[in-house]
């Protein structure tokens, strides 16, 4: 039993820290720490910096351009990035599509698409959810009908996807589509790559309760997709989608994000005052903070236990569901405390202050500008990626055998 990292792992951490010190632009870190909104260019910039170092696709095997890290190294890397205020890597191409292509794609697809993910030629988004298929993902209705014309074999796609994160930045979308209806609903699904510039694709924004444009609806009307864009076999898409959901979820707890957010909360609580003393010394607020700090310490160790099991050759099955539930609960609680810490100043909502180039004076404490909107935005954490209730279903089935 030893909770310490090995000297080699500590050396790796030092290497990551040196990289972040040299290469993470201060401007980006300030925006992330301040809870201000990142632009497409901000995200692309960090993406390119990581790619230059060969650390972008850290889940990919070496032969495809990954760094060949083990689970512990990935944990250290993602943790330190979060603590340093690095922008989150947009996961759709790198972490979601990439592994599926590597496992199930044809050689031609791998040769074509993987390098384009790395160098940023393509910005991918995810076409899974539909208005009628949220947690019940297998009931997708968007259809793809196979046909042949002068230009060759193709699919004609009709339907609608929703909650498409950053779809307004994307030029490509990977979709679950229905290719058979006379079978069990899981068995008639295919995995299709669609160019969003194809006629018939339309993206409409969904503005979330915090005023942000992060997610979209994507409509498909008679969209022609070359058959070469089918991944794997027709009607096997559910297998590929599930692979994505269990693949490399050891970092799903977001320990680094929580530690960074808690450090920020600690600073705020030392500055804000209630009853003539810092909020950090207020017994009821201090107790709330201590509870979440202890939960976080416990979860960090739970996370490391899962990682150690994976490093020893195990698969993070339903354990990642536990990490997802508790990790998101903790992140939500920290943003809730950050909002509370602002007191009445949680109310003002000057949206422009969250964007680049705002020249106005802040209203209330500096952190107040984003506290409430981040709290509302973080309500998504327990809904997406398989809602926390779905995760409990998974635990009941896979671990408890109920």
């Amino acid at each position: 039993m030893d909770l310490n990292f090995t000297p080699e792992e500590e050396a790796f951490r030092a290497e990551v820290l040196a990289f972040l010190r040299d290469k993470l632009p201060r401007r980006l870190a300030d925006k992330v720490h301040g809870g201000r909104r990142l632009t497409r260019e901000d995200m692309a910039e960090w993406h390119a910096i990581l790619n230059e170092r060969g650390w972008l696709a850290n889940h990919w095997p070496k032969e495809y351009g990954g760094p060949g890290w083990n689970a512990v190294q990935k944990f250290i890397f993602e943790n330190e990035c979060a603590l340093a205020g690095a922008p989150r890597v947009v996961p759709f191409g790198v972490n979601m599509l990439g592994p599926v292509l590597i496992k199930y794609g044809s050689d031609a697809q791998k040769r074509h698409w993987l390098p384009r993910i790395l160098d940023g030629s393509d910005w991918w988004c995810q076409g899974y959810s539909e208005p009628g298929a949220g947690s019940d993902l297998a009931s997708v209705k968007t259809t793809a009908v196979r046909g042949v014309d002068a230009d060759g074999e193709h699919y004609i796609v009709n339907g609608q996807k929703t909650w498409t994160t950053l779809g307004h930045y994307a030029n490509m979308i990977f979709c679950l589509v229905r290719t058979a209806t006379d079978v069990r609903k899981q068995e008639g699904i295919s995995f299709l790559l669609i160019d969003m510039k194809t006629p018939g694709v339309e993206v409409r924004p969904i503005i979330t309760l915090d005023g942000e444009h992060e997610v979209n609806e994507v409509f498909f009307t008679d969209v022609r997709v070359p058959a070469a864009n089918l991944v794997g076999e027709e009607n096997k898409g559910w297998t590929y989608a599930k692979y994505l959901l269990t693949y490399e979820r050891t970092n799903i707890a977001g320990v680094g994000f929580s530690v960074a957010a808690f450090n920020r909360l600690r600073k705020i609580a030392a500055k804000q005052r209630r009853n003539g003393r810092p909020l950090a010394d207020d017994p009821s607020f201090a107790a709330r903070m201590a509870r979440v700090e202890i939960d976080l310490e416990n979860m960090k160790t739970t996370n490391l236990r899962v990682i150690a099991a994976v490093a020893g050759g195990g698969v993070p099955g339903a354990e990642s569901s536990m990490l997802k539930i508790r990790g998101t609960e903790i992140r939500q609680e920290i943003s809730s405390l950050t909002r509370r810490a602002m007191g009445p100043y949680a109310q003002p909502f000057i949206e422009e202050a969250l964007h680049d180039g705002y020249q106005g004076a802040p209203v209330g404490p500096d952190e107040a500008a984003s506290a409430a909107s981040q709290y509302f935005n973080n309500r998504k954490l327990s809904i997406f990626g398989g809602s926390n209730e779905i995760q409990k279903n998974i635990i009941s089935k896979m671990i408890l055998g109920l």
Binding site: L3, A290, N298, T301, K392, I395, L402
Partner: protein
């Protein structure tokens, strides 16, 4: 990073688990826990022979363990069996002696480790409510003679197995405010010293404890453990060992309670189906599982920190006891609820795990106490 126990520790756990499953079944445990003696001397000696007690102490003290994970492994197994023998107080008193005892006092450790000498911590008082430094028991200098240097007066609350202990580790103070760390002085007081009285009673989760009072008990300087007025650090460390032990015991008990409940959900039928097929119950069970894994992590953190510098150690220990207090009560309540009416019965072993889990929160500081302490330690 490695979350495997060493070979030696796995062997201890295997030995202990086997012994408990063969010799300490529920009927036996129930009989022992309700007995007038409060525990089984025979089984206590067998535990000693097996070397289980020795695992709680380092080699310099005559044992072969004594580290955080040694304590954790042993007590987790004890928790699985709801063992009521006096392991906890043997650990606490023994660790205090190992840390601060003179040669003559350290010579007592052999009797602790082989099970022949029963000891008890007499520290908490009727009004101290877990507060570690609140000690009102007075130790006054008494004349000049070596054999009668001190006069002890005071009362100690809920001393585990107080009736059977041959020796008490008593906290008292010759000086200082009632809640000051400075001034706390430790004594080893024989049960048969004139002026010691013991009023025993059974506990709700099995076994016995006692109110112990000291009325003009005359002690020599040889009864002092460590220097007069400087006992707090030793007491704090020994109790940290005890808290870790209780937390580990709780995790063992939680695992068994969870297994019983899971088994019940799979087999109990209502409305023609196993009740485990109901999503409302599945989600409660999933929550419980998640919390138990958090509790296990809390114990790992505390065990790993036991040898660290004081603040790191005490924060991890309080974090663990807070977590265990919260999660222990949750597991107890949920397991009873998921069992329904049968969970309310004495005949069901599960009910006794639930009682133990809740009562662990009443030993050496509850959830609220340790949360406050965690906050205070963060300020220092």
């Amino acid at each position: 990073m490695n979350f495997q126990h060493t070979e030696d520790r796995r062997m201890i756990a295997d030995t202990l688990n086997r012994f408990i499953s063969e010799q300490y079944g529920f009927a036996t445990r129930d009989r022992i826990a309700r007995s007038a003696h409060g525990f089984s001397s025979e089984l206590w000696n067998r535990f000693g022979e097996l070397g289980i007690i020795g695992a709680l102490f380092d080699e310099a003290s005559g044992g072969f363990g004594g580290g955080g994970f040694d304590i954790a492994v042993v007590f987790e197994s004890l928790g699985r069996g709801l063992v009521v023998e006096p392991f906890l107080d043997t650990l606490i008193v023994g660790q205090a002696i190992a840390r601060s005892g003179n040669d003559a006092q350290r010579a007592l450790l052999g009797g602790l480790i082989d099970g022949s000498r029963i000891v008890a911590l007499a520290h908490g008082e009727p009004d101290s409510h877990y507060e570690l430094a609140r000690v009102t028991t007075r130790a006054e200098r008494n004349g000049d003679g070596d054999g009668s240097a001190w006069r002890l007066n005071g009362a100690k609350a809920v001393v585990q197995h107080g009736e059977q202990a041959a020796l008490f580790l008593v906290s008292a103070r010759p000086e200082g405010a009632d809640d000051s760390e400075a001034g706390v002085t430790l004594f080893l007081v024989p049960r048969d010293a004139p002026g010691v009285s013991v009023r025993g009673y059974p506990k709700i989760d099995g076994g016995r404890a006692a109110e112990v009072s000291f009325e003009n008990v005359i002690l020599g300087d040889d009864a002092l453990l460590g220097a007069a007025g400087e006992g707090f650090a030793t007491l704090e460390y020994a109790i940290a060992c005890g808290v870790l032990a209780l937390c580990s015991e709780a995790v063992g008990a939680m695992d068994v309670a969870k297994d019983y409940t899971l088994d019940y959900l799979r087999t109990r039928k209502q409305f023609g189906v196993a009740i485990g097929s109901f999503q409302a119950l599945q989600h409660r069970m999933a929550d419980m599982l998640l919390e138990i894994e958090q509790a296990r992590s809390a114990v790992i953190n505390a065990a790993a920190a036991l040898g660290a510098e004081r603040k790191v150690r005490e924060r991890a220990v309080s974090a663990a006891k807070y977590s265990i207090g919260r999660i222990g009560a949750l597991v107890a309540q949920e397991c009873i609820q998921l069992h329904g009416g049968i969970g309310m019965t004495w005949e069901l072993p599960l009910a006794h795990y639930a009682k133990r889990l809740v009562m662990i929160d009443h030993q050496l500081g509850d959830e609220d106490h340790h949360l406050e302490r965690f906050v205070e330690l963060g300020r220092e």
